[in-house]
Amino acid sequence: MLDTQHEGFVTADGRQIGGVVMELKNITLRFGGVVAIKDISFDIRQGEIRAIIGPNGAGKSSMLNVISGFYNPQEGDVIYKGYKRPKMAPYKVSRMGIARTFQNIALFEGMSVLDNIMTGRMHHMKAGFFSQALWWGKASREEEEHRAAVEKIIDFLEIQPIRKTPVARLPYGLKKRVELARALAAEPQILLLDEPMAGMNVEEKEDMSRFILDVNDEFGTTTVLIEHDMGVVMDLSDRVVVMDYGKKIGDGTPDEVRNNQAVIDAYLGVAHD
């Protein structure tokens, strides 16, 4: 169902990037009189790491919320897997294979790491209410399956030692990793990361970058991320969209973006004479 009109490309490190999975066409998002996003179009390709960058207030998080279906733009279309996506509730969007992490950690603090990640499997659970309540038949069989899937992710993100630890007791960097684990547990086709490295120290950033690359490498997950740290963005992403005041001012590979005059002006400021 992927758009076959667009050919994929091969990245410098030899990964095959496929066709377009999601296309955002002329998106405009308004809150009352405030225009958060103004006529933005770009696409997301299968298997790539796509970054959205821009100064504070540029509309990056709003853009991510449009992709995740939390906001419905007043104008423009979101074309997902070749079909125009109608207005729908965010949980339905999530069921269609889009998972996310949050800028401010949104985990269940009182629950263990394992249980938190299990919630990510929700859309894959099929047992009915009574079966689950009585823990009989399908529910218990299913649990094993889901636990196995979750354990693979725990192993992958190296969080075995904290499996049973309540989330509230974890340091910030690990919480972020647990959030990533929960998003991965949903087995998403598109993974949205809202500032995965905000507030981390250098070592935690390095770890997180490695995990993002490894996830992309191992599961081939298409990843869209918002990040402030330019060094990280340039190293991680295959293509970058640059936003400023709700408008798109650049789009391309990290090198192209780095040399784009509009981007340089937005980040470094322009002398007014």
Binding site: D13, G14, K152, D155, E158, Q160, L213, D217, E218
Partner: protein
Amino acid sequence: MTTNATQGALLSVPALLARNAVQFGNATAYREKEFGIWQSWTWKEVAEEVRAMAMGFLALGMNRGDHVAIIGRNRPALYWSMVAAQSVGAIPVALYQDAVAEEMAYVLEHCGARFAICGDQEQVDKVIEVQETVTCIEQILYVDKRGLRKYDHSRMNWLDDVKSEGKAGHHRFEAEVQTRIAELNYDSTCVMLYTSGTTGKPKGVVLSNRNIIETAKASSEFDKLRFDDEIVAYLPMAWVGDFIFSIGQAYWTGFCVNCPENAATMMTDLREIGPTYFFAPPRVFETMLTNVMIRMEDASPTKKRMFDTYMAHARKVGGAIMDGKPVSAGDRLKYRIGEALVYGPLKNTLGLSHIRVAYTAGEAIGPEIFDFYRSLGINLKQLYGQTEASVFITQQPDGEVRSDTVGVPSPGVEVRIAESGEVFYRSPGVFVEYYKNAESTASTKDAEGWVATGDAGFFEEGTGHLRIIDRAKDVGKMADGRMFAPKYVENKLKFFPNILEAVLFGNGRDRCVAFINIDLAAVGNWAERNNIAYSSYQELAGHPKVLETIQAHVEEVNASVAQDPMLSGCQVHRFLVLHKELDADDGEMTRTRKVRRNIVADKFSDLIEGLYAGETSIYTETEVSYEDGRKGKLKATVELRDAKVFDTVGAKVAAE
């Protein structure tokens, strides 16, 4: 072929495996916690895995006599790769997984490894880095493929792919593997392990099948190990002890080797397995005890009182009950109640409920720590060994266990003490040679097979137990001719939970001074309790109250050292608490965590001079290495303190 093996030709590890696959076929041979549950393999399955790997190695062109480097944490696949390498006539060489690339480079170059089998990406990266200078490595294999997909695979393979290739080509390789296994005999090399190198470069110790199998056999019989025993393999694979326990004894008796999920889950995994046979260096037992004590501090008053009462009782009679000595019926009953209320639950928490035999070695263990475990009914014993001896030189038989001796000669081992006081031994476990180092071989092992241990010791009269004083090289003389035995004093200092490490200087000087490393867990907990804020190790180490506590410890040790007329010269006149923890990454310790005295003396020479010059504070800069190999500078002002010393009759004298 298997029937032949069972009939008696048990001359190699692969032959033992073939026997186990028949004799213990469906018994569990290995377990590893992965994906949250214990995955297990029977001996039959292990034999199959090893066979597939061996055939895969043939497909990659592994030759007889090739050296195969094994680098990674304890995982079944790595143990199997060792046996698979042996099956094709190659020699496994295990490396310390936490070694930095430069250290690895020396060993890989020295043994001329053609193959490197790595646990994961981290180890693969190091080997690739090493390949810039070391050209002998032709193939890298790895167990965990995470993050390695994009690497250049022209000379790199996933171990599972190698196995598949071996299986696919079994018509071509089967016969060749069997031929090569049949070629192995008692004198062929079983494994090569590098010494940790307290002084100088590591040396490659060549151990034959005879060394390993004879030692495994004798020691298994000594402790009556059985095929249903369980051990947890968590100590470095490069250490000879792990090879003897997890390969030698495991293959000889057929018991089960359990591999933890990762280093941080070790204590939980230990508890889940509940091993029956356990080895740990003193440091591990110390840490376990410290954690128990810290947690008891937080317990409710009732629980705390119960713990204190019954632990006091256990100290009084626990050891005697275990050794089968006469104990009154009332005391026995009270011990039973204690077992139900305190000892049992405590052992369960520690994962030591099922222990039949536990050993500690490598360093002296504090008598209190030792007695604590024994009083709980845990049969903790000491042994004394070396890589060159395939571990066992002496060990303590059941019922003759004490904290200050290392036991009687192990079965088949002869021990004698030279005129100089140095301990020599001769046994079937004595190593073949140091690889490519005939000179060192000759200076360590004489023509009759006696090996110098480098340790000074003596046999205790009456009991026949060996006592080790110190490394023979470290024992020296002070300026006035009195004996200088640093280890003796350092051990006394280290028995305090607050002191992690101590280094004594004084050889050829008129008095002794010491460096102290605090134990962050114990001192940190104390600080928390007393509302002392600190932000770093360095700050805590320099806190006046911490210094006062340490000073009290040092003075207590001085008082005890003064009791011994021979060693009273070793009292600590001045000391300082180091601003950084001694670390193997900085070369200050070996990978087995033994202090490299000369390097420490050299690196901190300014501090030593300051101590002798009588200064009270010194500013110093030290180079440190971070885990990723980068270097940095640590700046600190260290306070130097005087400690009270005692004369041998007990009267106080002024320090300065």
